[in-house]
């Protein structure tokens, strides 16, 4: 059973469905729920994903059945049918996805069944009531519907085409930039990358995703159900990889994917060498200030499992910071926690981080304080610091209390604007270094 959460860094399944649909070019949601759900939930990711905005048909533009007490008593399927019919008439889209809120699922409306009546007019449906769980549940519900109802089965597979899963639009605030960098990197091997949400991808492209030879799943918590369904329905195997951030992580990623695709190791090494040279040719700029002022920091990382390990690894293995505590907010199963914890064994810094699994945002401050020797006003005290918190906007208060510098990377990010920025790969890591070190010099 799920527990209560202090300051959850999530919305519900319906919100997850909405942010996922908003990531697909010219796809429109039709929400069967009370009138306020769609705009409010869409608003969560419009603001807190680095001001991503409503996009093509988000926010108040979202068609919704706007059901009320009367429908709760008598059912709302008729109203849904009317709303779908009129949405098709008024809204211009390549795909319409009917999704549901708590109210109509509790009373037992069959919204997906109603959607099916319109299937020859590019309408599909998914059941997404908030009580199903968090954002990730909604992400998988939508992608599973795409796998079943949109992606065309194909016997012919292209061994050099991959599908990417696990990057949740908006929940990964930098999703488009990150996907573009992953596309660029794998493109250097001549691999075609399908991402659902990347620049230039359309619903017509998604229909052809059945031809891919491999799925790369970048998250432990989002996309696993979809990856399984891609295997069942379309016979596409999948591998699990970590989001590549920085030279160490990206090298591991490229070797892992290259091996799965049967790409010559020497070829991969040559590409990595070129990328790494490019990376360090830019990183060289900060060597002086980093060394003259000592910009090595104790790092406190607070993020979901998609970012937590990858960020920690980058800070420790590439940037040379001291990983102190990494707190992950989205894994509740003990066994999964243990599996995730083991990833950190390979971190190469002399000091390894303390890895915590905390859903309640407020608990991290206590954990940091309890993890460092208390100051008894002794003459010589090895204080905690200088420190840097890499987390979400919610950790800004934590950073203030610790006297640490702060950068928001994981959702929510409400204190800065994100456009095409990426933190993935070699190029993204340069941007991440820019943003981290800029925090340290911004008062100058």
């Amino acid at each position: 059973m799920a527990e209560f959460i202090e300051r959850a860094k999530f919305t519900c399944a319906l919100g997850g469905a909405l942010t996922t649909i908003a990531g697909i070019n010219r796809a429109v949601p039709i929400v069967h729920a009370a009138g306020g759900c769609a705009a409010a939930l869409s608003g969560t990711y419009n603001l807190a994903a680095g001001y991503r905005g409503t996009g093509y048909c988000g926010g108040t533009m979202i068609p919704t059945t706007n059901i009320s007490e009367n429908n709760i008593v008598f059912g709302g399927e008729e109203r849904l049918e009317e709303q779908i019919e009129n949405s098709l008439e008024i809204l211009d889209a390549d795909l319409y996805i009917v999704i549901t809120g708590c109210q109509v699922e509790i009373i037992g409306d069959d919204a997906v069944g109603v959607a099916r009546r319109f299937k020859d007019r590019n309408v599909i449906g998914a059941s997404t009531p908030g009580f199903l769980g968090n954002t990730f549940k909604g992400y998988d519900a939508i992608l599973k519907a795409l796998v079943k109802d949109v992606i065309t089965p194909s016997k012919v597979k292209d061994a050099r085409t991959v599908n990417i899963l696990g990057t949740v639009p908006g929940h990964d605030v930098f999703y488009r930039g990150n996907l573009d960098e992953i596309k660029r990197l794998l493109g250097t091997f001549g691999v075609k990358v399908n991402t659902f949400f990347g620049t230039g991808e359309s619903v017509a492209d998604i229909r052809g995703y059945g031809e891919a030879g491999l799925t790369i799943l970048l998250s432990d918590q989002a996309g696993a159900e979809t990856a399984k369904l891609l295997t069942e329905f379309h016979d596409i195997p999948s591998i699990k990889a970590d989001l590549p951030i920085g030279p160490s992580g990206t090298k591991a990623f490229l070797f892992q994917v290259g091996e799965a695709l049967g790409i010559d190791k020497e070829y991969i090494e040559a590409i990595i060498e070129k990328e790494e040279r490019h990376y360090y040719s830019y990183l060289e700029r900060i060597i002086d200030i980093y060394s003259d002022i000592d910009f090595q920091r104790y790092a406190v990382v607070a993020a979901d499992s998609y970012y937590a390990y990858s960020l920690t690894r980058f800070l420790a293995d590439d940037l040379g910071w001291i990983p102190f505590i990494t707190s992950i907010n989205d894994i509740t199963e003990e066994e999964e926690q243990e599996n995730y914890r083991r990833k950190f064994d390979s971190i190469t810094s002399e000091t390894r981080p303390k890895v915590l699994f905390k859903e309640n945002a407020g608990e991290l401050l206590k954990e940091v304080r309890n993890s460092w020797p208390y100051n008894h006003n002794q003459k010589y005290y090895d204080a905690f610091g200088p420190a840097f918190v890499v987390g979400s906007s919610i950790e800004r208060g934590l950073a203030e209390k610790l006297g640490a510098n702060f950068l928001s990377v994981a959702f929510p990010v409400s204190n800065r604007v994100v456009l095409n920025k990426s933190y993935a790969g070699f190029r993204g890591a340069l941007t991440l270094v820019e943003d981290l070190i800029s925090e340290l010099v911004s008062a100058r």
């Binding site: 300051r7 926010g59 708590c102 407020g362 959702f411």
Partner: protein
């Protein structure tokens, strides 16, 4: 307008939850036509019984209710619902810091909890989880109050939050305040204000005990002083959409005629709320927000209240002041103040009038604010092309009449950008002033715009009128942003939708 507010009675605090606005007041939320037709339709009751064939997402009463109660100092919010409800706190929680800073209040981290109801809870009920959340909030944060906002799921499955509050009341020091604001219950999102104030009235307004002096004659002296203070005190009821600048301006005007202004209840401490009864007059700046609170305060403390107009623009600021002055018999002082303020303001507005005269404007948002804002720009010589209201109820009957524009186009709907953009494309205003979440669409249509309200800009009173005019003129100094984005982004509405009459989308309904 006083007449309609005066006709209402307030006796709802015996129940756990307030009635919805549909039940208590009745409102039109779907209409497209002229102001004259709408006024007639509301009188006959027909306008209230309309609905839409194609609907878009509007607001939820939960958001509005929580907007009120989460602003209080030293409270923890618990959202009793699945994770989505109030998940927008992750984006707006930081605004608390800026708002408090603008009022000179110390920074306070905003803490909220989700009970995170899941499928199992839908079957078994979520009360145990709520109990755990309340005890966690008490133990970790020691707030003065723990406010519980109840979402649709517990509303439908019937979680008894009030019994739990009663059970825990004597076990913890924080006051427990259930707020019943289930979204599905009302299409009139302003019901959320009543939901919030219902909880506030039932659980948070406890007048302090009288302190007795041991000094001979001390009690008499203190009572005489208190009595005088209270006889001059005016509570101004603020709203989430006003700025600190607005509060300073309205307070300045009341101070100028010798009254003692106090601004409540948003961002108040529980101590401020405890003293809410110590006023001679409670004054609303927006009927949509607070008639429920003011009405019940009258029942409780006997404090008279004034629900008239929103002090935006010259005419409505004058009227707001005159009504208050009449209550205290300060007409002479007030007329002097008005004459002085208006003459200075008019001089300052002169250059702006020259820019704005003849330009066309459209205003969308809350009923009281759009009508008063439209009136102000009309007074500057602009042409009104139309207005759009979230809802229209009888509180604005008089303002509508005072506008004296029965032919003016009015659309009623919360959100509903398809209808609004259809109208705007035909009307082609030079300037659009609209509610949050509407302006982005209007930018994509290529129409210069600015927000109808903002927490950092002064809109109310005489200084607000100047700022509004200044803002309009500033926006028109460079309209390239909307030109560029409209040429390079697309709206999801089909081309032939713009040829249709949005009236066709309104249908008769059988019930609210």
């Amino acid at each position: 307008m006083g007449s309609y507010a005066d006709s209402l009675t307030y006796h709802y605090l015996g129940a756990d939850a307030p009635p919805t606005r549909e039940e208590r007041i009745g409102a039109c939320h779907a209409f497209c036509g002229s102001c004259g037709e709408l006024a007639g339709g509301i009188k006959s009751g027909c306008a209230q019984l309309q609905n839409r064939k194609f609907a878009q997402s509007g607001g939820c009463q939960l958001t509005l209710a929580v907007g009120i109660v989460s602003s209080f100092t030293n409270v923890v919010m618990i959202i009793h619902s699945p994770l989505g409800c109030c998940s927008n706190f992750v984006g707006t929680g930081g605004l608390r810091k800026t708002m408090r800073a603008s009022k000179g209040k110390p920074n306070e981290e905003f803490v909220w909890l989700h009970t995170n109801l899941d499928e199992l809870d839908v079957v078994q009920g979520g009360i145990d989880k709520l109990r755990k959340a309340i005890l966690y909030a008490e133990k970790e944060y020691h707030p003065e109050a723990i406010v519980i906002a109840n979402g649709c799921v517990p509303g439908i499955i019937g979680d008894d939050v009030d019994s739990l509050a009663g059970e825990l009341k004597d076990q913890i020091t924080a006051k427990i305040v259930p707020v019943h604001c289930e979204g599905f219950k009302s299409k009139y999102v302003a019901s959320g204000y009543d939901s919030a104030y219902h909880g506030v009235l039932r659980y948070l307004i406890e007048p302090p005990q009288k302190e007795w002096s041991t000094v001979p004659g001390g009690n008499e002296e203190k009572e005489a002083k208190d009595k005088y203070r209270i006889s001059r005190t005016v509570n101004i009821f603020n709203v989430g959409s006003n700025s600190n600048g607005d509060e300073i301006e309205l307070s300045r005007l009341l101070s100028a005629i010798g009254l003692i202004p106090k601004v409540l209840p948003l961002h108040a401490s529980l101590d401020d709320l405890a003293h809410i009864g110590e006023a001679a007059l409670n004054v609303s700046i927006c009927a949509t927000h607070d008639d429920y609170l003011l009405g019940h305060l009258k029942e409780r403390f006997g404090t008279d209240y004034l629900i008239d107009t929103l002090p935006i623009g010259i005419r409505n600021t004058n009227q707001w002041l005159r009504k208050i002055a009449a209550y205290f018999h300060l007409e002479e002082e007030t007329e002097k103040l008005i004459a002085f303020e208006v003459s200075e303001l008019n001089k300052a507005l002169e250059p702006f009038k020259q820019v704005l005269a003849g330009k066309k404007v459209f205003v969308g948002g809350g009923e009281t604010r759009i009508l008063t804002t439209a009136e102000f720009f009309y007074s500057l010589g602009m042409e009104l092309t139309g207005v759009k209201a979230h809802n229209v109820d009888r509180f604005v009957e008089d303002i509508l009449e005072d506008m004296n524009a029965p032919k003016l186009l009015i659309e009623v709907g919360a959100g509903q950008p398809a209808e609004e953009l259809n109208l705007l494309k035909k009307l082609k205003p030079d300037l659009y002033i609209g509610h949050m979440n509407a302006n982005g669409w209007v930018s994509k249509l290529g129409i210069p715009n600015f927000p109808l309200f903002g927490q950092s800009l002064n809109y109310m009173g005489y200084s607000g009128a100047f700022e509004l005019a200044r803002k309009a003129v500033k926006i028109l100094k460079n309209t390239n942003f909307v030109k560029n984005v409209s040429a390079n982004t697309s709206l999801p509405l089909k081309e032939d939708w713009y040829d249709r009459d949005p009236k066709e989308n309104i249908k008769e309904a059988v019930n609210y």
